[in-house]
């Protein structure tokens, strides 16, 4: 069993192996729901919750898992949690549920969740598996919200529109009109905008990575020069 440090888990989930930008898993919900920040936030939170719950459970039961039937058991665990969360969402955030409704069951098919159960949670201790579920989910949430913000600003000129669906009537005033009197740019809201936006965000992440690498290699060169 390989040992992974907690900081490594956090770094992997949020950046190095970010499910949205690097592993590119779960693209269907990522592209479909990221047309506004609030939609993205709703699905991101639901996915994070499912990942945390499924990772924790899978790790807790890993001793009793039979290798022959482990995949059906993962599916069972994940499907049960998704159904429970779907019902809870329908009960407590009814309006948001109406918008995200058809994407919640799709969380079951999000390969990230069964992927983490199989590759990580079934081999690691409970706290590590729970943390991995949480940060992997948060990484997905961040990718969703970034893409949602990008598309909402370019497409409608607003941020946090329809926040009251999630945070209640008090949040109606949260909507930011980033660009006043904006006529909207349809492409960003439509599905092609999702692909283009995701492409741009991945490119930005890769550019940042490349920048860091350059700095790091310069540093080592400098160190070598000092030593010699």
């Amino acid at each position: 069993m390989s040992t992974v440090s907690y900081s490594q888990i956090v770094r992997d989930g949020l950046w190095t192996h970010n499910t949205g930008f690097v592993q590119l898993l779960g693209l269907c919900p990522l592209l479909a729901v990221s047309n506004s920040v609030i939609n993205a936030l709703g699905l991101g939170l639901a996915t994070t919750l499912v990942l945390l719950a499924s990772n924790t459970t899978v790790s807790a039961i890993r001793r009793w898992l039979r290798p022959e039937v482990r995949i059906p058991i993962f599916v069972l665990v994940i499907a049960s949690f998704v159904t429970a969360i779907e019902l809870a969402m329908n009960a407590f955030w009814h309006e948001l549920y109406n918008i995200l409704g058809i994407f919640i069951p799709l969380i079951v098919t999000n390969c990230v969740i069964i992927g983490r159960a199989e590759a990580f949670a079934s081999k690691q201790s409970l706290p590590k598996a729970a943390l991995d579920g949480l940060v992997m989910g948060l990484g997905f949430l961040i990718a969703l919200v970034l893409l949602g913000a990008l598309r909402e600003v370019i497409g409608q000129g607003t941020l946090f529109s329809q926040a009251h669906l999630m945070f209640g009537e008090a949040a109606r005033g949260m909507t930011l009109h980033v660009i006043p009197d904006y006529r909207g740019f349809l492409l960003a809201i439509l599905p092609p905008g999702a692909f283009i936006g995701l492409g741009l965000l991945i490119a930005a992440k890769n550019a940042i990575d490349a920048g860091w690498q350059r700095k790091a290699s310069q540093k080592t060169v400098n160190l070598q020069e000092i030593e010699t």
Binding site: V69, L76, V77, S80, L87, A91, H94, N98
Partner: protein, 223 residues
């Protein structure tokens, strides 16, 4: 021999493990369902009532609106072969308004589900869009959260405007079309007009307190 036995044993064990998890998973779902069932039903009722009250204000009727409905079928005038629910509002037992959910079958991308409120005298209480798949930014201006266009139906009736006026401006009617989208508003205007025709033909039957299957039979006659 022993190998066979151990294979059998591990198969049975695996089946047990899977069975136990199936029971646990189903149990979790059943518990959550039980805990949320009432709240979900209440949410759905509240959402429906909010939709209805947006058209016919709550102080204009005194019956339990969400529980007083009839199912009607009329593919020609209601735009769908499915039964359409019509809610009936009364005050002191006198008819106040009906609220029906007809369908505009000829939207730009599929059907548009509407909620149309008609007062007993045949004037429109208002129209809202319940569900649609129109192009975001163009056709979705029929949604009240996007533009005020749909509010323009309030106080209209079959006489005001007359027959010729029930169309978008491009077709010689009085209703605005949207820049770049004529098909969507045209479909909505036509569907609202057809619902008014339906109301005129079936007004008394719609408001009748006991409707023992009488409304189901009405077929798509045009006036």
């Amino acid at each position: 021999m022993t190998e066979e036995v151990s294979t059998l044993r591990s198969m049975i064990l695996a089946a047990w493990v899977l069975g136990i998890f199936a029971v646990l998973g189903t149990g979790l779902v059943a518990l959550t369902f039980n805990a949320t069932e009432e709240r979900i039903a209440a949410n759905e009722r509240a959402a429906l009532l909010a939709n209805l009250n947006a058209l016919v204000p709550a102080d204009r009727y005194d019956n339990a609106l969400t529980e007083d409905s009839v199912q009607v079928v009329d593919p020609a005038l209601l735009g769908t072969s499915e039964p359409v629910t019509v809610y009936r509002a009364y005050r002191d037992g006198k008819p106040v308004a009906v609220l029906g959910a007809p369908v505009a079958p000829d939207g730009y991308s599929g059907s548009i589900r509407l909620l149309v409120g008609v007062y007993a005298d045949g004037t429109l209480a208002g129209v809202r869009v319940l569900a649609h798949h129109e192009t975001p930014g163009l056709g979705d201006a029929i949604d009240v959260s996007r533009s005020d266009w749909i509010l323009g139906f309030a106080d209209k009736s079959l006489e005001r405007p007359t027959e010729a006026g029930w169309g978008v401006k491009k077709d010689g009617g009085i209703f605005d079309q949207f820049t770049g989208a004529t098909i969507t508003p045209r479909a909505v205007v036509k569907a609202v007009h057809r619902f008014l025709l339906y109301f005129r033909q079936h007004r008394d039957k719609l408001f009748a307190k006991s409707t023992p299957g009488g409304l189901e039979a009405s077929s798509g006659e045009t006036p």
